[in-house]
Amino acid sequence: MDGSAATQAPGGLQRLEELNLLSAALVEKAGLGSTPAHEFRIEARMYRELLRQTMLNNRAQSTSDQLPQHLLLDMVRMSALLHSAADCKTGFVITCPADLMLQLKSQQSRVTQGLKMIQMMRE
């Protein structure tokens, strides 16, 4: 493992934590029933692009420093759910059906748990 990879690995995890905060905020906004649809869509897109960038950076790491695939896949699912939520509009605001809200919250807690596990393992 070279020095650069060692310094990049915590960066990747930190980026995932930031993304987790962003998705948590978006899940909350989806449940409010008053979030402007265009604003939500832009933030959901931002989440996806940052996730893509993080995953591409992660690919460049050595195998031992890479972030777990299952966590990244969970975040890909989170991104797809957020995009579905962005399509649930009542006029110009986001209003999610109950089943989608339930899955958004469940996926969000799954990602948070996964991140906690990795932090504990790295500590």
Partner: protein
């Protein structure tokens, strides 16, 4: 307003606003189909004996990005134009279940095994369903077409089942087709859809989501049936439904349950069933819904036997995200303004349809000789 009624209002709005554009577009195309198809050679092709028409209807349906509400006018206009019941119902089932965007999304989020099961089921189930309704359903006979105007006075959708004249000019034929689609068929479809949408809204409002969620995580026969019945009653489009199914799968749902929920959820919904029940025929629609649920359940059992125990979809996250992007790009998006205009149009059609339905009932009561059963029902 309580949470349940808020949920009811949200669900009703969402179904109407998401499907409105496709229903209106389908009414326009359906009107043209009704005007031009009966006199064209294409109808003969669709009515030819053998399985070619059924396979053609399924493959054509599988490339259209239309949801289960949007397909109703098109299916009814094909039926009213004299196309065989089997290909019509196979088309009505295949169109919402499967489309290129949904297949790509499934590959991205559910993995290759479930996608293989989904595509196979999306093609085989409509075919079986078409065979079943063609054998035991109620076809639109030539006699009933000829007799319809007398028995159905006041319900223009039935009056127009008579084969249109092909001698008129092109512009007047287009106008006649649009008039049939929008003014005759539109209010009838919108009225029956409204009943289904209200029912779907009540289910969404009063069925606890946690109860559904816990049922979807089991793999028993009862859970498969619950997934099938619940899936058949809710309104979802395939592309938007797949992330939800993927999340369920990731949190422990059996792959068989996922496939049942995915296929029945996208194939049909209460607004569609109520509209078809009152226009194509009761026996046909009961058979259609029952075959769909039972067929999906059987497929669920087979998928569980194939993939359980120890199934976990594994794929490259970057590739998965790229595929999700590609799937979403393939799915046409309707702008806010167009969506609101279409919603207003559909609501107006529903209002007109309701008024027409009430007026017909009052007229029947006042004449006191009429039967309550509409000849529009099978």
């Amino acid at each position: 307003m309580s949470v349940a009624w808020q949920q009811f209002a949200t669900t009703v709005w969402q179904i109407v606003s998401e499907s409105a554009f496709w229903v209106i577009a389908s009414l326009v195309v359906g009107g043209l189909v009704h005007e031009f198809l009966p006199s064209s050679r294409f109808r003969e092709l669709l009515n030819r004996k053998g399985q070619g028409a059924m396979l053609g209807a399924i493959l054509f349906g599988a490339i259209l990005p239309i949801c289960s509400c949007g397909v109703i006018p098109l299916a009814i206009s094909l039926y009213r134009s004299g196309v065989r019941l089997g290909p019509v119902m196979a088309f009505a089932a295949a169109t919402p279940i499967i489309n290129p965007a949904a297949v790509i999304m499934s590959l991205a989020l559910l993995g290759p095994q479930i996608t293989l099961a989904y595509v196979t089921l999306g093609l085989v189930l409509p075919y079986c369903l078409g065979l079943i309704v063609e054998r035991w359903g109620t076809p639109l006979s030539a006699e009933s077409v000829a007799e319809t105007p007398d028995c159905c006075s006041g319900t223009p959708v039935c009056e127009s089942t008579v084969t249109p004249a092909s001698s008129a000019g092109l512009v007047s034929r287009i106008a006649a087709g649009l008039r049939w689609g929008i003014a005759d068929l539109g209010p009838t479809i919108a009225f029956y859809m409204t009943l289904g949408v209200l029912l779907a809204g009540l289910i969404a409002a009063f069925l606890p989501p946690a109860w559904v969620d816990s049922y979807l995580r089991e793999s028993t026969g009862t859970a498969l049936l619950a997934a099938g019945v619940f899936g058949a009653s809710i309104y979802v489009c395939a592309v938007a439904h797949i992330p939800l199914v993927a999340s369920l799968l990731a949190t422990g749902a059996a792959p068989g349950i996922s496939i049942v929920f995915l296929v029945t959820g996208t194939a049909t919904n209460l607004p569609e069933l109520v509209a078809l029940y009152n226009t194509i025929g009761r026996r046909t629609v009961v058979m259609y819904a029952a075959s769909l649920i039972v067929g999906a359940m059987l497929a669920g059992v087979i998928v569980n036997a194939w993939l359980l125990p120890g199934f976990e979809p594994v794929f490259d996250p970057v590739r998965s995200l790229d595929l999700v992007d590609a799937g979403e790009r393939l799915q046409p998006t309707i702008g806010n303004v167009l969506s609101l205009v279409s919603t207003a149009g559909l609501v107006a059609l529903a209002g007109f349809g309701t008024w027409r339905w009430v007026a017909l009932r009052i007229r029947r009561r006042s004449t006191a000789g009429g039967s309550d059963d509409s000849c529009c029902s099978g």
